[in-house]
C-alpha cells in the first residue's frame, strides 16, 4: 500500500505539513468530485450536490479561453467568501512557478493548491518548490515522467491535465491512458532496466523504482480537463482515475445543480451503467464544447508545464 514513511520523530509534539498528512488529505477525496466554482453561491450548490471539495477561481477555464489575456490567482476576498460558505475543503489555483501566489493561498487557509496550467505560467523553466509549504499541492500531468517530476518537487496529488475549458474529454483520456500504460510497462521491468527507464522518463530513480513496485503512483491520481457528463466522469474512473475534477462542465451547463448531483452519482457508481443511465436523464444542455483538434498549439493548456 502507498503508506508514506513518516518524517516525524516519535514525540508528543504534533507535526504539521508532513508528507503523510498532505498525501493523506488527497486519499480522503477519493471516489469524489471536485468542482470549479466562481462564487459562494456556486460553492453551496456544489456542496449540496455532494462535491468532496471545490476549486475557487475567478473564471472557469471556458471563460479564460474566451477572454484571453493573462490568467492569474483569484482575488483573496472571493476565495475567503467561498471558504466561509462551505465546510468541504477549498482548493485554489496558483500559476506554474508563481510561488508567491502559492504563499498567498497558503496564508488564506486554502486546503489544497493547484499549480495549474489553466492559469498563465509565471516561469517557463521551474515549477514551485512544493516542499516549502504546509499546504499540499496538486499538479497536472500528461504522462508518467511529468507526474513523477511534480511528485519529486513535492506534489501530494496528481491529476491528468486534459484540455480544460473544452468540454471535450479526449485529452484527459489520452493522458490517463498514457500514465497507466507507462506504469504497467514499469511493472514488468527488472532492476537493471529501471535506471534507463528513469533516464528516459526524466524522473528520479527512487520514484521510478517505487512506482514499479507499487504498480501505481505513490500519490492519489485524479482526472481533470474536459469532463462534461456523468458518463465522462464514469469513463475516467473506469480508466483508473481515483476521482474527478469538473471545471467548466457544471456551471456552464443548463442546470448546474442537477448536473453536479448526476456527476457525483456516476462517479460513485462508475461501474453500474443503469445508475449512470438514470443520472444522465433530462440534464438539460451540456456545455457546448470545443473540438481539441481545431485548437491551435498555442491555445493548448496541456503544453504548459515541463
Amino acid at each position: 500500500m502507498s503508506t508514506t514513511p513518516s518524517s516525524t520523530p516519535q514525540s508528543d509534539s504534533p507535526a504539521i505539513g508532513t508528507a503523510r498528512v498532505k498525501r493523506g488529505m488527497a486519499e480522503q477525496l477519493k471516489g469524489g468530485v471536485i468542482m470549479d466554482v466562481v462564487n459562494a453561491e456556486q460553492a453551496k450548490i456544489a456542496e449540496d450536490a455532494g462535491a468532496v471539495a471545490v476549486m475557487a477561481l475567478e473564471r472557469v477555464p471556458a471563460d479564460i479561453r474566451k477572454d484571453g489575456g493573462v490568467a492569474r490567482m483569484s482575488d483573496p476576498n472571493m476565495i475567503e467568501e467561498i471558504i466561509g460558505a462551505v465546510s468541504i475543503p477549498v482548493m485554489a489555483k496558483s500559476r506554474i512557478g508563481h510561488f508567491v501566489e502559492a504563499q498567498v493561498l497558503q496564508s488564506l487557509g486554502v486546503d489544497y493548491i493547484d499549480e495549474s496550467e489553466v492559469l498563465t505560467p509565471a516561469d517557463e523553466v521551474n515549477h514551485s518548490d512544493k516542499f516549502a509549504f504546509t499546504t499540499p499541492f496538486v499538479c497536472g500531468a500528461t504522462n508518467l515522467g511529468e507526474a513523477l517530476r511534480r511528485i519529486a518537487e513535492g506534489a501530494a496529488m496528481i491529476r491528468s491535465k486534459g484540455e480544460a475549458g473544452t468540454g471535450n474529454v479526449v485529452e484527459a483520456v489520452r493522458h490517463l491512458r498514457q500514465i497507466k500504460n507507462e506504469i504497467a510497462k514499469l511493472r514488468g521491468f527488472d532492476n537493471n532496466e529501471l535506471y534507463a527507464a528513469a533516464k528516459e522518463l526524466r524522473a528520479p530513480y527512487e520514484l521510478v523504482k517505487e512506482v514499479s513496485e507499487l504498480g501505481k503512483l505513490p500519490v492519489v491520481l485524479f482526472s481533470a480537463g474536459g469532463v462534461a457528463t456523468p458518463a465522462d466522469a464514469a469513463l475516467m474512473r473506469q480508466l483508473g482515475a481515483e476521482g474527478v475534477f469538473v471545471g467548466s462542465g457544471i456551471f456552464k451547463s443548463g442546470d448546474p445543480a442537477k448536473r453536479a448531483a448526476a456527476i457525483v452519482k456516476a462517479t460513485t457508481f462508475f461501474d453500474d451503467p443503469k445508475i449512470i443511465a438514470d443520472a444522465s436523464r433530462n440534464l438539460g444542455e451540456a456545455m457546448v464544447g470545443i473540438n481539441c483538434d481545431t485548437l491551435p498549439e498555442t491555445e493548448r493548456y496541456a503544453n504548459r508545464g515541463w
Partner: protein, 194 residues
C-alpha cells in the same frame, strides 16, 4: 468463525487503505455500496472521506436506513474521521440535512482540529492498544459522550477515540500508517460478536 467478512462502506473516501489494513488483520475485506452487499458482512468499516458527501450518497442510494437497522441490531462498526462523524448520535454543527447513522452516544464537532494547514501527526495513547501514530486530517473531535460510551484516547484534552458496545470510532486514520493494531482490535470485536 475464524475469518470474518468485513465490509468497507465504499461510497467515497479512503476505502482502498481500509481494505488493505483489514486483509492484513486477517479478515476478508470487501467494498459495500448496496443494501444487498451490506446484508452479507459480519462487520463494517466507515472510512475517512467527506462526511457531508458520504451522508448524501448514503441517503440517495437507500443505504441510510439499512445501515441504521444493522447497527441498531448490533453489527460491529468502526469509523475513522468522517466515519466517526457518521457513527455519532449527534453532530454539533451539521450542514443542513446532514444525516448520521448513529450508534455511539456522543456529540462530535466537525473539522474541530482546523483546516488542512493544521492537519497533523502525533502519538496517541489508545487504551488497550498502546501508543499509535495518529494521523489527523481536518479531523473532528468528540465534544461529549454518554454514560455508556468508553473513551479510549484523548489528544490535547479532546476525545479522539471511543467505543460503545460493538461500535468503535477514531478521529485519526490508522489506515494511513501501515500499523494495523486498531484494525486488529476491530477484527477481534467482529469475531467476539458472532
Amino acid at each position: 468463525m475464524n475469518t470474518p467478512v468485513i465490509g468497507v462502506l465504499a461510497l467515497q473516501g479512503d476505502v482502498r487503505e481500509h481494505l488493505i489494513a483489514l486483509a492484513a488483520a486477517d479478515a476478508v475485506a470487501r467494498p459495500v455500496r448496496r443494501p444487498e452487499e451490506l446484508a452479507e458482512v459480519d462487520g463494517l468499516v466507515i472510512p475517512g472521506g467527506e462526511s457531508t458527501t458520504i451522508s448524501k450518497l448514503a441517503a440517495l442510494f437507500g443505504m441510510l436506513e439499512p445501515l441504521r437497522e444493522r447497527v441498531r441490531a448490533g453489527l460491529p462498526v468502526y469509523g475513522t474521521c468522517a466515519g466517526l462523524i457518521m457513527l455519532a448520535d449527534k453532530i454539533l454543527d451539521p450542514r443542513s440535512g446532514q444525516e448520521t447513522i448513529g450508534g455511539i452516544e456522543m456529540i462530535v464537532r466537525r473539522n474541530a482540529f482546523g483546516r488542512q494547514n493544521e492537519s497533523f501527526e502525533a502519538t496517541v495513547e489508545v487504551a488497550g492498544v498502546g501508543p499509535v501514530e495518529g494521523v489527523f486530517i481536518r479531523a473532528p473531535w468528540v465534544e461529549s459522550v454518554g454514560a455508556e460510551t468508553e473513551v479510549l484516547a484523548e489528544h490535547g484534552g479532546h476525545i479522539v477515540a471511543v467505543r460503545q458496545g460493538n461500535a468503535l470510532a477514531t478521529s485519526f486514520h490508522p489506515e494511513l500508517t501501515g500499523d494495523h493494531r486498531m484494525h486488529a482490535l476491530f477484527v477481534d470485536m467482529v469475531r467476539a460478536a458472532s
